[in-house]
Amino acid sequence: MAQNDNLEKKSSISAEDLARLSKEAEEEATPSSRKIIWNEFKADKAAMTSVIIIVAFILFVVIASFFIPAHDYKEVNIMSYFNKPFTPDFWLGADSSGRSIAKLLIVGSRNSIGIAIGLTFISGAFGIAYGLISGYFGGITDMIMSRIYDFMIMLPQLMFIIVLVTIIQNYNAVTLTLILSLFQWMGTSRLIRSRSLAESRKDYVAASKTSGTGNFRIIFREIMPNISSLIIVEMTLSFAANLGVETGLSFLGFGLPNGTPSLGTLMANATDPTNITQYWWTWIFAAIEIIVLCLAVSYVGQALRRAADSSQRLGME
């Protein structure tokens, strides 16, 4: 209580005033980012539609896949061999093993999107930390870290992934995500490094240093919040790219192990010439889904980028 009395004496405002002020401040907090992003999406109908499509689709796929038992997409059913689509039992037809394409598509989408999200978070977190540290410390630290980056860029990544996947006997979605992450952080780290370099020269960083704040606290608590919009944009766009990574590998036959459905394994049906023309339903829905998802995600990414870069904004304050 003595504290409070003291506080009252020192300033003309009361505790209630303080409470009101902090509430007002709360409302004005991050005034910019959240409101700007919202305005940007309101002004860009395509981006807004894309967000709705993506969120609804992911929710649907995740929830629906719970109701599909594993034997539905693992067991062979000769009776429904290449069943035609748009029939009551097989809405999207069946493949050469008589499995429902609709069910494969749902479970496969969940797997592919899950891997893309995991990949984005793991490689993104590493790339962001790597770039921030490299740019902040500069000098010899930056030089060594940049050489490691150069080395990673030079590696024939696809070959390494294929070799790793072949060597590791029992891999699953999680190990595959980790392996892919090893080769996916460089783009993010490069981008973040250059911003971190510029940001570290600003006086507020110098002020934090003279205030006795430690380097890692400065990096993650002072600098990182200031490049959060860049981070959001970068993560969104790399999510679109990462959707293609697993899909592409599985298409080539080096992605998820056999029997685990994914958008890539569905697409791989298109490697058989008769499938391409005669049994088009085995692959075309996966192809359409990939195109729609990637387009939608990059629309969202572009709207976010405009929101982050004030000179390109469509939305009005």
């Binding site: 020192k10 002020l21 401040a25 006086d203 205030s211 704040t213 002072e222």
Partner: protein
Amino acid sequence: MSLIEVKDLEVHYPIRSGFWNRVTDEVLAVDGISLDIEAGETYGLVGESGSGKSTTGKSIVGLEKPTKGQILYKGKDITKPRNRHELDYNQDVQMIFQDSLSSLNPRKRIEDIIAEPLRNFAHLSKDDEKLRVLQLLDIVGLDADALYKYPHQFSGGQRQRIGVARAVATNPKLIVADEPVSALDLSVQAQVLNFMKKIQRDFGVSYLFISHDLGVVRHMCDNIAIMHRGRIVEIGTRDDIYNHPMHIYTKRLLSAIPETSVEHREEAREHREAVEKEFQENQDRYYDKDGKVLPLIAVTDTHKVAMPQDEVDELQREDD
């Protein structure tokens, strides 16, 4: 003993170029300067842009690593990070920056900005900390409702006062003020300077006051060092510098002080042009053949100037 003794400080930056990015040259940002700052005084460091003032200031607060020389505080050389750490040096030596906007983290509230040094050095309870921040805001004449706002919600003068509040938060002994008012309007300048003076009276803090304008420094500083090309060209008391300037560069800076009264404006312009002409014609007598500043020579106990001895003698004879 002085509060801070700077001895032969040098800060050289490598210039890298070419395909191999090798060090090909050096910028001599600070090229051997010495000065002593006493407790409770305001020391002026004046020179045109690029003369190495900020680099000197940053070396003193420990933001820049000197190439050579020493900075002594409590008998220890604080250019070594270990000594800075041992002394909790930044609790005692703080900085105010020129650009008030970029020196405040745009993502943080004023409360968190001012409390940052307190959290690292003072370890107060939450209530005590808030109280201390409110006191500090009060000292620089800001209302308590500033507490939860963000830097962009303030004017330049207000932001600079927030910077001052942050700098005095831990009761430092020395504050390096790097052109604290250069970015502000004239009327706002006076206001910020008055708060700084008040703080000096109340807390007994010393300032190293950096400026490119001798006019601003006049009413603040007890001792002044004039800096050019990384070196000191003239150093002395306020009286020495304003009433008995000897170096041609000091005279040029003095003539560049903006004239506020309208009647004398024309006169001032003519004077400035005359000094500028003299500077251009006589430059080679005040600098060596590489354009470097000459060694300092003592004129009186307090007054030193970087000129050849015979020129000094001649000027003194004229004075008598």
